[in-house]
Symmetry: C2
Subunit: 333 residues, 2 copies
DNA sequence: CTGAAAGCGCTTACAG
DNA sequence: CTGAAAGCGCTTACAG
């Protein structure tokens, strides 16, 4: 036998006012006399009344729920991201309906869930949306934003690091330090993030007449470790490895050590993200810092803005970040 | 101008049936003829109709939402936990309203949020609840369960590892390997988790006539690193360190290395959790594996069971886990 | 400033 | 098997 929570009607009865008045007391900006308000609040507190957000959402057509879909993540970067999204959204009065997806592309099922619960917006992190799903969301007038991904085929807002430029700068930095035989270990190759980092890195080097080596990874430590072993065993061993993210770089770092190489003397390693672990004394990983706070804020603001205004041509927004120089790189003499 | 989603009424009009019938089509187990059902589903699909979960929740007094509160986490263990909870709950038809808390104790505000959205149950991870909040939830007949914590003062279901026994076994293992000067680096000392691990560890050793050393940590790498440095610089340097979790142990590991000590020859290190990083070649950390899947499943099942039945005396459920022996410990000759 | 009434989108006895 | 009607807990014109 579930005890039912008290509703506005009961409060009204006890406080000897109408239910409308009770509602007004809990609606900021409504016209209620101080006296009535006090009385109602007192009764409400006594009875343990709390407005039902679902009923309110239903009538106001405003649920204050945002759907957050995140890909299966072993990358600590995204944990940080999740935390900051949750906090940032709460500060704006929104709640988070959370979904964890196992595929590169958000599935219909997950979006259906969001739709049924009338989320006001959707944030997708570290994953893609099919154009079908995006269309469906647009038809329902639900704004979507991609975090750390973008897609040329699917018109959709997005916020990410300027990976192309950042990777160019990393290449440039390594070049200036005197490294000449560079390699890139990719992330999942179907992600714009890894593609852009690859493109920026390679283009810069090619302009300098260097043909970078390449091995495929998938953002995980294990794959990166194996990829690095392959690179380091090859006849033309690279003198610098750029990993698609910090986890990748850490895999490469350990592979180098396992092969008895000295970092940074025999080989330099650079990552991307600047997760906390990168600064641990045992790693001291040179990496690119993504300005997470800025990215989160931009994402939330863009989404909230979309929620208010008419559909505008979606834009991809980019932020910069900066190189963090640590012990896995150094000037070659 | 927000386009409103189509509702059951519209579908009914187009399909030339009553709105009740449309509702029945979308209510499993309702009596509808095959023919009507087909027609309605067809129209629904055409119009892009999807039942409104909020309205349904309101009338049925069943929202299918579970509130999940998690403490600010830099521990990858909890990311894994979050993912598995989300998936596990989805498999049972529940959705996750996610809240991130920054305090050791879940705040009133977060619970209010859950209450307003009529969650059917609350899972609290890596944090506590005040007895006031628990009472409030009980009054509203919302079951709560603590994951990886328990509290003697506040009557509340909980699921955690049998930390006491596990820590005893770790102590016993180290003892058998020949270590004699052991130290424990704590987690946040107000957590039952750290307390139990400490108690189990110390009690076993004291029975063997060994007085363990102790330094305070807070589950973070940085604090553990500093704590380990203090231990290793002390006149009676320990020959084995047990860290309250893997991150703590990794901090100790790096501290030992920074001091030029050899692991495991000069000093052994043991962690707790068996996070993925523990198995990385650069760490090879001996640790205790928590049976995460089992814990998650038990938590979800216990919660769902609570949701159905009358209030029973809350119980603390414990699971075991096992020691994973790796390179940071070895038999002393 | 306040109340009576309509309505948000649904489910579910009730009657046929 | 199906429809008309009541009701979940709220907000908000409308009238006073």
């Amino acid at each position: 036998m579930k005890k039912k929570p008290v509703n506005a009607m009961e409060v009204a009865r006890v406080a000897k006012v109408s239910q409308s008045t009770v509602s007004r007391v809990f609606t900021p900006g409504s016209n209620v006399s101080e006296k009535t308000k006090r009385k109602v609040l007192e009764v409400a507190k006594e009875l343990g009344y709390r407005p039902n957000a679902l009923a309110r959402g239903l009538i106001m057509n405003k649920t204050n729920i945002v759907g957050l879909a995140m890909r299966d993540m072993e990358n600590p970067f995204y944990h940080e991201v999740l935390g900051k999204f949750t906090k940032g959204l709460r500060d704006k009065g929104y709640h988070v309906l959370f979904v964890y997806t196992e595929n590169d592309e958000i599935q219909q099922e997950e979006i259906t869930q969001f739709l049924e619960y009338s989320v006001e917006g959707v944030i997708v992190t570290d994953a893609y949306l099919s154009s079908k799903v995006v269309t469906q969301l647009h038809e329902n007038n639900i704004p979507v934003i991609l975090f750390n991904r973008y897609s040329k085929d699917v018109p959709c807002y997005s916020v990410s690091c300027d990976n192309y430029t950042a990777a160019r700068q990393i290449a440039s930095y390594l070049y200036e330090q005197g490294y000449r035989k560079m390699a890139y270990i990719t992330g999942r190759t179907n992600t714009s993030t890894s593609q852009d980092r690859q493109r920026g890195f390679c283009e810069f080097l090619q302009e300098k007449g260097i043909e970078p080596m390449m091995e495929e990874g998938d953002y995980t430590y294990e794959k990166a470790y194996d990829a690095a072993i392959r690179l380091l065993k090859s006849s033309q061993r690279p003198d610098a490895i750029f990993g698609a993210n910090d986890i990748t770089a850490l895999g490469a770092l350990d592979a180098a050590e396992a092969m008895g190489l000295n970092v940074p003397n025999d080989i330099a390693v650079v990552g991307f993200d600047n997760i906390k672990m990168a600064s641990w004394p045992s790693h001291e990983l040179t990496t690119w810092e993504q300005p997470v706070d800025e990215m989160i804020e931009l994402t939330i603001n863009t989404l909230l803005n979309e929620m208010k205004i008419e559909a505008v041509e979606p834009v991809s927004k980019l932020v910069s970040g900066r190189l963090i120089e640590r012990g896995t790189t150094r000037k070659k003499i």
